[in-house]
């Protein structure tokens, strides 16, 4: 269980422990993510992957440990203040605003970039108008990038699953995050959609230089694109390292073959 040291990690998690009543969802987990790294978290169902994301983004309150983002402690922060630090995420079960258009969903990602108050909103003159127009431009770039021009005015609730996933990625990108958490970005997708999504993820890293942590069950995808992989089982870290090494790790094989621990 030796960790290759990451110099100046953007995300540094140590001794993270989260309990729900009797079950320990995350058990003293430790890992660090380097800048511009594509870091994957894998593990069987219920291993605690989503729980880690929820701890990082402030949705769950872990009992122990620390989560440092660029040196700042995230524990105890509310989700909105975590987001404002530059962390965006997508959800395992898409959490889009279904009654709003694609545009509005993406504009919501710009919420804290839109620097005007309620009074300016009521008047909608100079400042608010300018901010809306400028941020709309940023959103249009993301729409171009994700190739969703033709649905920008559609209500999100009417879109097929694969597109929703893409819009949710767009909403997270609209936040211009420094760290992007992707919870099962290709779950439930067919091969073509999966390849599209993989391409977007690689482009995000190549063109935008955003650090990403990705939870994914699709081992093929993880092996293909991740720099390093963290393997969890029953809330505990059982392996961490490069994809090639992970694949042959006996503890990982055991967890995945479902042998009784």
């Amino acid at each position: 269980m030796s960790t290759p040291a990451v110099t100046e990690p953007i995300l540094d998690v140590s001794d993270l422990t989260l309990r729900f009543g009797g079950t320990t969802a995350v058990d003293a987990v430790e890992f660090a993510v380097g800048r511009a790294e594509l870091f994957a978290i894998v593990g069987p169902n219920g291993a605690g992957k989503t729980s880690i994301f929820n701890c990082v983004s402030g949705v769950y309150r872990p009992q122990r440990g620390s989560i440092r983002f660029d040196g700042e402690e995230l524990r105890g922060r509310r989700p909105d203040t975590v987001a404002q630090l530059g962390i965006a995420r997508t959800f395992q079960n898409i959490e889009l605003f279904e009654n709003l258009t694609v545009l509005d969903n993406l504009m919501l990602g710009r919420h804290h970039h839109l620097d005007y108050g309620a009074l300016a909103g009521l008047l909608y003159l100079g400042k608010a108008k300018r901010a809306e127009t400028e941020n709309r431009r940023v959103v249009e770039e993301i729409i171009d990038f994700l190739e969703i021009e033709s649905i920008r005015r559609s209500l999100v609730g009417m879109l097929p699953y694969g597109l929703k996933k893409r819009v949710e990625l767009g909403r997270a990108l609209a936040m211009e995050p420094r760290l992007l958490l992707l919870d099962e970005p290709v779950a439930g997708m067919n091969l073509e959609e999966t390849e599209d999504m993989a391409r977007f993820i690689l482009d995000i890293r190549a063109e935008l230089g955003v650090t990403m942590v990705m939870v994914e069950h699709d081992m093929g995808l993880v092996m293909d694109i991740a720099d390093r992989v963290l393997v969890l089982d029953f809330g505990q870290r059982i392996a961490l390292g490069e994809p090639g090494r992970i694949q042959s790790d006996p503890a990982v094989i055991e967890a995945y073959l479902g042998e009784a621990p």
Binding site: L108, L122, A131
Partner: protein, 383 residues
């Protein structure tokens, strides 16, 4: 990411293709099509001309529509847009009415009154309730659904108690007091005068005044709802966890919704008291709150235009029923025959309509209007 502004340069405007926008600003405008601009303008002119052709009591009734629309828009902001059910609207209306009465009313032996100008008392009638709304919002932001409904219901009862007890402000139970004096910039709005050879009476002036306030506040509300705050309202209403993760502060957003809603309620309360002419503490009860919920539900949740439609409906329907009941044999009008009173019939129609709208057209009158509009846009094709 390739940075282009190609999306902004969709060509075609000015060449007979009015639905193509050439800038994001034009796209984001409220009246974003020529048709909307023309119709709104025509409607406004018609509405302005109306009091010159109507009886005084009908003019006054339409003034009440405007006032209800202001209050309805306020409630729609917090309940329709931000999804925070409030039964406490009547309390904030009352607060606005009494704030206006204290600052703008005449002092008598029984009640206090500073007799200030409307230019002062009207904004204060919004600001004081807004401040109270701001103060209770952190409490209200902690609970949701049924608990929020009960919490805001509590406001109405506390309000009724205070209004009934505070004799020197409200005149007390069963007595009431006179509202604020409608003196704007030193001009007494109740004096008659001549305009283009027509006599302009008090009701016409109130009508114009309330219409102007409504237009200003409706445009402001529409602005707010298309701004980042409107999107935040919807986000908090639909998925509060996702909203927070997007950087939207729940507390801040809900507080804003309650504060602005209370401002609108206060203005509506103050104007209502002036239009009605006398205010009694028991006016501001749960039934008034429910009237405003009806405005929102019948007009359509999360639409400003709908709130105005809803207000017209809620205010005009009782009058309509009243007029029609003269022709219905089973209704006991003011004479006392028949098995239903006019009031009972009004209540029943009201209740039935709310249920019908909730079941058949949750988007209310506004939803109906959109359907009709889309039908005619596509005419003669029915798809």
């Amino acid at each position: 990411m390739s940075v282009t502004t190609e999306g902004a340069r969709r060509r075609g405007a000015g060449r007979g293709r009015p639905l193509l926008y050439t800038s994001y600003a034009a796209d984001q405008a409220i009246w974003n099509t020529p048709a909307k601009r023309v119709w709104t303008l025509a409607l406004l002119v018609a509405v302005l001309a109306l009091p010159f052709y109507l009886d005084r009591d009908l003019t006054s009734l339409l003034t009440t529509v405007f006032v209800y629309a202001i209050g309805g828009i306020g409630l729609n902001l917090v309940t329709g847009y931000a999804g925070q059910v409030s039964l406490g609207h009547a309390f904030f209306l009352g607060l606005g009415a009494y704030t206006a009465a204290v600052f703008g009313g005449e002092a008598t032996d029984d009640v206090v009154g500073l007799g200030l100008d409307m230019a002062i008392w009207l904004p204060l009638a919004g600001l004081v309730p807004a401040l109270v709304g701001f103060a209770v919002a952190p409490l209200a932001a902690r609970v949701r659904g049924l608990y929020l409904a009960i919490l805001t219901l509590g406001l109405v009862f506390i309000g009724l108690h205070i209004f009934n007890e505070a004799d020197s402000i409200t005149g007390g139970a069963g007595v009431g007091r006179a509202p604020a004096e409608p003196v704007l910039f030193g001009v007494d709005l109740t004096t008659r005068f001549e305009l283009f050879g027509t006599r302009v009476n008090r009701d016409m002036v109130y009508y114009i005044l309330c219409l102007v306030v409504l237009v200003v506040l409706a445009v402001a509300a529409r602005n707010l709802t298309r701004s980042k705050w409107g999107r935040a309202f919807a986000a908090v209403r639909d998925r509060d966890v996702a909203a927070e993760v997007m950087g939207v502060s729940l507390l801040r957003t809900k507080t804003l919704a309650f504060t602005i809603s209370s401002f609108y309620a206060g203005i509506a309360g103050a104007l209502l008291s002036v239009v009605v002419g006398r205010i009694s503490p028991n006016t501001w009860d749960l039934f008034l709150s429910i009237d405003f919920l009806a405005v929102v539900l019948i007009g359509g949740v999360a639409t400003i235009t709908g709130s105005i439609m809803g207000a017209a409906f809620v205010v005009l329907l009782p009058r309509l029923v009243d007029e029609l009941s003269a022709y219905l044999p089973f209704i006991s009008g003011h004479t006392g025959e028949g098995f239903l009173s006019v009031f009972q019939l009004q209540t029943m129609i009201f209740g039935a309509l709310i249920v019908l709208f909730l079941v058949l057209e949750p988007r209310g009158l506004y939803g109906l209007w959109v359907r009709v509009r889309n039908y005619w846009k596509a005419w003669p094709f029915s798809y």
